[in-house]
Structure formats: C-alpha cells, structure tokens
Amino acid sequence: MMTIREYKRAESLEEAWQLNQKRPNRVLGGMIWLKMENINVGTAIDLSGLGLDTIEETDEGFSIGAMVTLRQLELHPGLAAYTDGAVRESVRHIVGVQLRNLATVGGSIYSRFGFSDVLTMFLALNASVELYKGGVVPLAEYAQRPYDRDILVRVLVPKEHSRFVYQSVRNSQTDFPVLTCAAAKLADGSIRAAIGARPGKAVLYTAAPEAGETAEKFAARFAAEVKADIKTESNLRGGAEYRRHLAGVLTKRAVCRLEG
C-alpha cells in the first residue's frame, strides 16, 4: 500500500529537484506503478504545473515533455507521420485509453522497465533524455544507468530521415508484451533494432546490408545474429528459448518491412 505524507505541485524544476534529493520523496509520473508499491512517500512531487505536457516539433526533431501522456504520443500527427505510425503502434496495446491518458513518457522512460514498449520504441528512435542537472544524455546510455535523483525534463527525438516499424507479441490483448521489437532503417541503409521485454531492458542492435546482399538474405542474417546474441530469460509470459526465437522472427519481419 502506498502512503503519502505531503503533496507538492512543484513551481519550478529547481524546487522539484531540491525536494527530490530527500530519500523518502518521489516524483509523480502517471502514478500507475507508484500506487501499487508498498511504499511510504514523504513528499509526492508533482510536475504537472511546469508546462511539461506538450510535444514540440521542429525541422530538427521532437521535444517531448516528461508529463506528456502515452495517449498524446498515440494521437500526435507529427510523430505518426515521422515514424510511419510506429509510435502509435508501440503504445496502443498498453491496457486502455484511460490508463494511457495518465501514464507519462517521463514515468515510462525514467522507470526503464524491462517490459516497456515505450523504452523499446524510443531506443530505436535514437532519442536522448534531458535531465535537469545532468544535461542531455543518449537514451541508450541512460537506459543502462542506475536510478538517481535527477529530474527527467524532456525526451528528445532527432529527425534522421529514417523509416520505422514497431512490433510486439502478446499472449492476449493489453497484456504485457512477451517480446517487443522497434526498428529503424537509417539514411545509409543500415538497420537499428531495439529488442525489449526479454524480459530485461531493451537492447540495441545494428547491421548494414553487405554489397550485393538481397533484402531477404540481409533480413535472415541480421535475425540470426540477433538470435545468437540476445540474452533472454523466462517468466510466466514466455520461456527464454521462445523469446530468443521471437527475437529472430521479429527482427527478420522488421527488416523485410523496412526493406520492402
């Protein structure tokens, strides 16, 4: 059960950061997971008054505030156009509209859950996170860091002239994924693929077609490389070997769709 001693709607990032340095205090995201924890929170720090609930698009990329909801991601026409609908696909299976109206990008990325569709998608998007004190950090690096007490302010997505695809396998609709796969075809023809829900955190792979290699052969080779290398584990949603197999299948399908 969660208890909260005090609630504070932060009036500045500095105030939020100061409050967050005290061990029992916690920043509120969408509160989906926090409320299910057995935790006694000192001060719940709410960032919802700081204007971090917008998605700004420029010629260079997208700046996504930490309090933007997954539903906003799902409905944003610019993100849909840039990612060929991949961002929408990555979040639309997450429980329901009501939950996605609460769950935030900041909460999802900060938490770096293994099962996270959002982390998988944003790794393939080559995103960075903007931390209040820590500056801009590539998400691939941030995903490996231990949890700290900085404030995640925004998620930044560069426009790279890439094409994207997102796939997930679920035992039933709206359940946690058994495996996730987001992939990007970059301007130089190489493929960047993120595989998540292993069930560990998403990991990145890249590969480029060799000279004269057909798309089909490239897809099969890359899929075999991923399958051979990826570390998977078992949980109640799927076995390690099944996940390894899926990693190969989804990688192959992703490459075929991006090359097609």
Partner: protein, 157 residues
Amino acid sequence: MQITLTLNDKKLTADVAPDTLLIDFVRSHGCLSVKRGCETSNCGLCTVFLDDKPVLSCSVLAARADGHKVTTLEGLQDEAAEFGAFIADQGAEQCGFCNPGFIMNALALFREKEYPTDEEIKEYLSGNLCRCSGYEGQLRGIRNFLAWKKAKKETAE
C-alpha cells in the same frame, strides 16, 4: 490539504489527505457509480472524466484534480441515458458491474468519433474488462446503437 475542483458541474472545496485517491474522493461525495475493481489499473471500472478525458480514478490523487473538472456517470445522466437504456434493452450485458465504467468510456469514444468502426470500438474499449459477456454482447449493442442513432439522425434530416 484543501482542494477545489468542479465535480459534475458543481464547484466544491474539500479537505483531503495527500494520498486520497480520486476514486475514494468522488465516492465520498456520493458518486457511487465509480467502483473499485482490479486495484491494478486494468479493469476500467473506476473510469471518470478528468477535464473531459477518460482516466482511471483509482490511479489519480485527489490532490492532482485540484483546479480541474471531474465528471462521473452521475454527471452525465442525459448523455448516458439513451445509450444505457439501449444497451440494457439489447441484453448486451449480464451482471452489469462493469456497466458504469463501460458507459463512461463508450461516451468518451462517441465524443471523439461519432460512428466508430468495429476495430476502433474494440481498441478504445480494450481497457474495460467484463467477465460475463465475452464482449460480443457489448459490441453488438454498440453496433446496433450506432445504427439506430444514424437512422434517427437521417430521419430527422
């Protein structure tokens, strides 16, 4: 702490504990259509509108609703009556426990899209669990409601 919000078009100020959840707040103010089901943010029973967007009131602090507009099924009687009666007449549900959350989210869907497709209905309502109907009855009920609404509108025109 003190919060001021608009609940079903009525402005009210109340003292709440910092960890009071919105579901408990609205229920303590007479909105008993809002129910606690799963406790894991999955079932949709506790759906309310927060600034006209459907959310799970079991996962929102009442403090976070300070300064905002909260609407429950009690505040949507006119909008809900026609659809609710139609669903009941169609026998689309069995026990009815999920009905308030289901109606809230269906109304949110109709506000976004007047005549959604089957796939859009299924996707939008995927966060409303029903352990009786297997969803087929609800889908049939919504389809028939939309067809009836369309015919009624065309007749009026």
